[in-house]
Symmetry: C2
Subunit: 390 residues, 2 copies
């Protein structure tokens, strides 16, 4: 009997789907995409593409009918539609329940808090009185967050005073945005832990990553993170426990704040994540291969780093007149940083690629990744390199 | 102005094209294939495929018209057709001249001999008298080789006596096969050196690889090769000199015999080569990315190994009832060997994939790669592991 290739359907066709498709080739895993547009980054490199919106039940069903398992490039899907697919016997990983949790920050705080995971003080705020009460308990400034749909700094507001908070609340009410308030923690640094889990229960975590953020956008990843072994082990334990607690299937990023030496869970992303791009060259198994293995219930791979220092820098678009792809030749000549383009037209602030360097020390890896990035952008980014510049 | 992706056309759609397509994704290089069949390994994973035979002038032209440069997955192309493309202004790398040289072992021996590269004693043999003369000069046994078309042990015959040689000659004359004779060297081991060259002249060589052959088929690759630094440097120098001598563009494998401590050039393959598969995980830049860079005249990447020991084992098919892909789960559980399937149905002796392991010592890398391979095949290969079993 002829061998039947395992087939993974991916909802969405951005860079995460593109890098999953790349990882699928050596294992002879077939990938089918549900792409909104045939020019999407992943649709450029995958032959099997269903064109349709991620919230179109017909399109989702057409994808599921062609696959052994449905997974995701993004979270812009309706969990109710996923639950229907599950009810019809389709495998959907992460499950509709995990996807619903990931989309709803209020629910994340509630469920993870009930399970005892450490989190910043927080409260649902539906009226100014709720904000006033939270501010009285924890002091200003406070952070206000949209419960749904925020990313890359969008959907997050700082409120120094109750008047600031009122303006945010007014705007939110006008757009139907549901909010929660969180205490503003003084940050030592931010971390992420990637953890993969199979339906049969096997769990594998990568070493904690330091994520250097600027204006809410992740700029740089550093492995190893500048934390103690104890704190790293604790973060890893929390991420693993959350994966088990929520019945995660696939890879998940758990983002943490470190404040005055203490860990706080920030949020969850139940899919390959920007904070895991370093694993392509920097770990024995890339997060994309690990995710494919997990959703197909195949044994998970080693998560060990391939070098003593790994640095990844996100390439943020600056506009069509400064396309980093035009400087590919110069950048390949400049250093040994590994360049990953996502097949996207550059728009200001849009992630259009990343650069990873693996070296004997983190300092050398950072220097190499920055050299390649500066050459691709034609200059040091306007904001300079991160606050704690090395 | 919108960025125009560089586009590479590949004649042929086997595993080399498949791995080139994978390497093209991060650099946002577009790949178009000329595939004989839509089910070919690379055609399964590339959206842009021209269906046609590699010797069909119309199909070749259709490919060239869509690309910045035409390159190759195999050597089964007519150099005259390539020369026509070149005359029409298409870039073809390696050039028609390099491809003609690679196809013709008599011409390789002549040109490389005239340039002074060390080679086994050899002679063109068209009649039994030629063989008798060569045997008288160098002694039996001798090796008879088809000048064109041989691979994986096909097209090579041992002749212990003049009578053996007569049978080979009769068979060759019946099929119109042109032969050459070579002295049979007692082998210490076999090597390959991969070298890449750009049109603008930059050259980059990878460390010498030990290629362990059995019945004329490469079974195992080992880095570092068990040779002295001096011999390694000499092999690297020869490979680099040949690349310059023949005006090579792209990556080329130069295969060597080592006999009684001396180097002899065996043959050339002007494309990504089986002996370079270790570079995907085992070198800073894979041979596939390096080839794409070279044919697009982009700066070449570092050829340094990523570990102190790298081993690659070819997966040879044993028949449709023993498809190694069925044991993917067991093999992923067995070791950290990196598995590469080529999307091919297994037939006896057909290369259907390979396994690479990178470790702190070569011995550990070999053990890991063998463990994964044994699990994929369900057993130690019938021939056992290579003669100099470790």
């Amino acid at each position: 009997m002829t061998y039947k290739r395992p087939t993974v359907g991916i909802v969405g066709a951005g860079q995460l789907a593109r890098m999953m498709a790349q990882a699928a080739i050596p294992l002879d895993i077939r990938v089918v995409l549900l792409a909104a547009d045939p020019t999407d980054g992943a649709a450029q490199v995958v032959p099997d593409v269903v064109i349709g919106a991620p919230d179109d039940p017909q399109a989702l069903r057409a994808l599921a009918d062609r696959c052994d398992v449905v997974t995701f490039d993004h979270e812009l899907v309706d969990p109710a539609l996923l639950a229907e697919l599950e009810a019809d016997g389709h495998r959907v990983y992460p499950t509709s329940t995990s996807m619903a949790l990931a989309q709803d920050k209020r629910r994340q705080r509630l469920e993870l808090g009930e399970a005892g995971f450490p989190m910043p003080a927080h409260a649902n705020v539906d009226a100014l009185a709720d904000v006033a009460e939270f501010g009285a308990a924890h002091g200003f400034p406070i952070v206000l967050k949209a419960s749904r749909g925020g990313y890359d700094g969008r959907g997050v507001w700082m409120a120094d005073t109750i008047e600031d908070a009122e303006r945010v609340l007014d705007g939110a009410q006008a757009t139907g945005t549901v909010l929660l308030a969180e205490q503003l923690l003084p940050l030592d640094l931010e971390l992420a832990v990637l953890v993969a889990r199979r339906p049969s229960g096997q769990v594998a975590a990568y070493p904690p990553i330091e994520t250097v953020q600027q204006d809410g956008i992740c700029r740089e990843l550093r492995v190893p993170a500048a934390i103690s072994v104890t704190l790293g082990a604790y973060a890893t334990r929390i991420a693993t426990d959350i994966a088990e607690q929520i019945g995660m299937v696939g890879i998940m990023a758990v983002e943490f704040f470190v404040s005055r030496g203490e860990l706080y869970v920030n949020e969850l992303a139940p899919r390959p994540h920007n904070s895991g791009h370093w694993t392509i060259e920097g770990a024995a198994t890339s997060q994309f291969e690990q995710h494919l293995r997990a959703v197909l219930d195949l044994p998970l791979g080693s998560t060990l780093p391939t070098g003593d220092g790994v640095a990844t820098i996100n390439l943020l678009g600056e506009g069509a007149d400064n396309d980093p792809r035009r400087r590919l030749g110069d950048a390949l000549a400049a250093s040994d940083g590994h360049i990953h383009f996502y097949g996207k037209e550059p728009r200001p602030g849009r992630k259009v690629g990343h650069v990873t360097a693996v070296a004997d020390t983190l300092e050398v890896a950072i220097a190499q990744a920055r050299a390649t990035t500066e050459t691709l952008l034609g200059a040091v980014p306007a904001e300079g390199w991160t606050r704690d510049d090395r």
